[in-house]
């Protein structure tokens, strides 16, 4: 019979795992989805089965948004692509991804190891301090034109989820524009947003929010 109350007996562990690395968003694993009818089923909560099986890594940490309002746009100017040192070239730091495309690899060091660009509250302006990071990734992508990235925009948890989704998109697009200026071809970049749905830090304070307002660079096949 159906009298299941709004209740969850199951311990909920909220996201978490700040140490897990975001996995590629197209790693071939499918999200696991199970739909149900509620016609005349009498089994209450029904088999929930959200097995962890298909749980793609993207789950790990993404997201955090800013309740952001306002947002002043800007595309931090990108000075020439003169990458400053740091294992820029695909050479030793890179590895072949699943699809054959070269990626910096999980063991990348230096600027190529940095995969997150952080934003201020209410802002999608890319700060100057991230220019070297973007220049390094742009150089890698220019030298490896078969390589592709996803730019995932994220916000902290405050405010509207839908507005945060749009704000995360603005952050991803701001990074995409800089990469374009630096010579990366449009077909090497796809910007998407997770809004506040995938926080890097599951906490609820300013320091967590700061880690969650970000754009992640995800190499396809890495």
């Amino acid at each position: 019979m159906k009298k299941i109350l709004l209740t969850l007996l199951i311990a909920v562990t909220i996201v978490g795992c700040a140490t897990r690395k975001p996995a590629p968003i197209s790693d071939g694993k499918k999200a696991q989805v199970e739909e149900k009818s509620i016609g005349s089923d009498s089994s209450g909560t029904g088999g929930v089965n959200a097995g962890a099986g298909g749980q793609d890594g993207a789950g790990a940490n993404v997201d955090a948004g800013a309740g952001a309002d306002g947002i002043r746009g800007s595309t931090a100017g990108a000075g020439g692509a003169g990458v400053d040192g740091n294992n820029g070239s695909g050479g030793d730091a890179s590895s072949a991804g699943a699809g054959g495309a070269v990626t910096p690899g999980a063991n990348a060091t230096g600027m190529l190891a940095q995969r997150s660009i952080y934003f201020d509250y209410d802002s999608f302006s890319v700060k100057d301090e991230y220019k070297p990071v973007l220049q390094a990734h742009a150089k890698f992508l220019v030298e490896n034109s078969a390589s592709k990235i996803y730019l995932q925009g994220h916000t902290d948890e405050r405010g509207s989820r839908e507005y945060n989704l749009a704000l995360g998109q603005k952050r991803a697009d701001a990074v995409r524009r800089i990469m374009s200026v630096l010579g990366v071809k449009e077909n090497q970049i796809e910007s998407v947003s997770y809004g506040e749905e995938k926080p890097k830090n599951a906490g609820h304070d300013e320091s967590a929010y700061g880690q969650n307002r970000r754009a992640d660079i995800i190499y396809q096949g890495e």
Binding site: L8, S42, A52, D56, E157, S160, Y163, Q169, K198
Partner: protein
């Protein structure tokens, strides 16, 4: 100001489940008049059947507008209005009372009859009969509560309705549908990727929502009767914020296929290409139709901060609706079309506010701090929203005048993205 505060704990005792299910509804009422009503156990109710009188009583009590008068010991087994000792019930403080019968017919059908009586006038206000199958007991109890509510208060109830919401449980996102009293919870979708923005079709048969199962937001529509799903919008970029037109034929959505987040109109069955109805350099999202279908309200940052705007349903004649504060989002029309509710930020507080369209007057309805996703009950009396207390997502309701507040909490769990469904037939 009288502040009445009590906690109703509903135990899932009669369920027969080994695990104990529990929903705690905490109600806080400020300054509202409460009608004392006695709801007697229905004659013929057996312990194995669901308790009609308790379901009705719980519905009425949850509104904060009624006070239940304990009928114990006074005229048990009362079946007929003509046998009511009105003076005694008056002595107990009841202004209204409900008596009824429940009989099992030869075909297995249940015959339910109730009488609503005015104790002071010693008169019957209404009496109705229902012939139902056992599975309809709870919905029938809610219908009876709706009749009582309307007779005593002069406005429609919203007990025979459902709500939807999303539960985050470990790594799973569960889209749930439950009766408005929290019972009969069912999982309609279980996904390892986020699900947001569920939206009821006007007839209550389908839910549109945003799923990240393809590693980016896409809009889907799912039939509740069959569980069948269809992809409505999966264009390049983000696809989100589905909102049904009042006739159920169209969906307004937010797409980024042409650049930034903009509003589009599409057929609700996904046929035909989307028609763009907004054109700003910034974000336009969270569309919601007016009840008459003539307007769409939405959130836009075109003026430098997110504010609520209104356009005609085809996107023309855009007007800014909010000027107070730098963050006003998630607008929804009241069912009578006279008010807007939305989330307003004030400092670190994100709260549900109501704005009267004619006067522009704004009232902050809630005292919680991180409110999201407000939606009206179909009678316009109550607003359901999500909030966050100590890092845990929970649902809450507030009456349209801000006086009556409820928090729906669970022992464990993170609940978000609620939407109140239409009145069921």
């Amino acid at each position: 100001m009288k502040q009445l505060k009590y906690v109703v704990i509903l135990w899932g005792l009669f369920i027969g489940l080994s695990a104990r299910a529990e929903l705690t509804i905490e109600i806080s009422v400020q300054g509202a008049k409460q009608i004392p009503v006695a709801i007697l156990p229905f004659a013929g109710q057996t312990p194995s059947q669901q308790n009609l009188s308790k379901i009705i009583g719980a519905d009425l009590a949850r509104t904060g507008l009624f006070k239940l008068v304990d009928p114990a010991g006074l005229q048990p087994d009362l079946k007929q209005p003509q046998h009511v000792a009105f003076a005694e019930w008056r002595g107990r403080g009841a202004e209204a009372m409900v008596i009824g019968t429940l009989e099992t017919g030869a075909t297995g059908k249940l015959q339910v009859r109730f009488h609503l009586l005015d104790v002071a006038k010693q008169a019957q206000l209404i009496s109705l009969d229902y012939s139902i199958v056992p599975a309809q007991l709870r919905p029938t109890a809610h219908k009876i509560a709706d009749v009582i509510y309307e007779k005593l208060l002069g406005e429609p109830g919203a007990f025979n309705t459902k709500i939807t919401y999303v539960v985050k449980q470990a790594t799973s996102f569960l889209l749930k549908v439950a009766d408005a009293d929290g019972y009969n919870e069912q999982t309609v979708l279980a996904s390892t990727e986020p699900v947001i923005s569920p939206s009821w079709s006007p007839d209550g048969s389908k839910i549109a929502y945003v799923s990240f199962e393809q590693k980016k937001p896409i809009v889907m529509v799912q039939s509740l009767a069959t569980g069948a799903r269809s992809v409505i919008a999966a264009f390049k970029g983000n696809n989100s914020a589905p909102a049904w037109s009042p006739d159920g034929n169209k969906l307004a959505v937010t797409l980024t296929k042409d650049g930034g987040s903009q509003l589009y109109l599409m057929n609700a069955d996904g046929s035909d290409a989307p028609t763009r109805i907004s054109s700003s350099a910034g974000i336009d999202t969270e569309p919601a139709f007016s009840p008459d279908g003539k307007y769409i309200v939405f959130t836009s940052d075109r003026g430098g901060s997110p504010q609520v705007y209104r356009a005609s349903a085809s996107g023309g004649d855009v007007q800014r609706m909010t000027y107070s504060g730098t963050y006003n989002v998630s607008p929804r029309y009241s069912p009578d079309g006279k008010n807007l509710i939305y989330i307003q930020r004030n400092g670190a507080q994100y709260r549900v506010v109501m704005q009267e369209l004619d006067s522009g007057q704004i009232q902050v309805l809630t005292d919680t701090a991180l409110d999201e996703s407000p939606s009206f009950a179909p009678n316009g009396r109550t607003i359901l929203y999500a909030t966050n207390v100590k890092g845990r997502g929970m649902l809450a309701t507030v009456s349209h005048d801000g006086r009556i507040k409820q928090r729906l909490t669970t022992q464990v769990g993170d609940i978000r993205e609620p939407a109140w469904g239409p009145l069921l037939k």
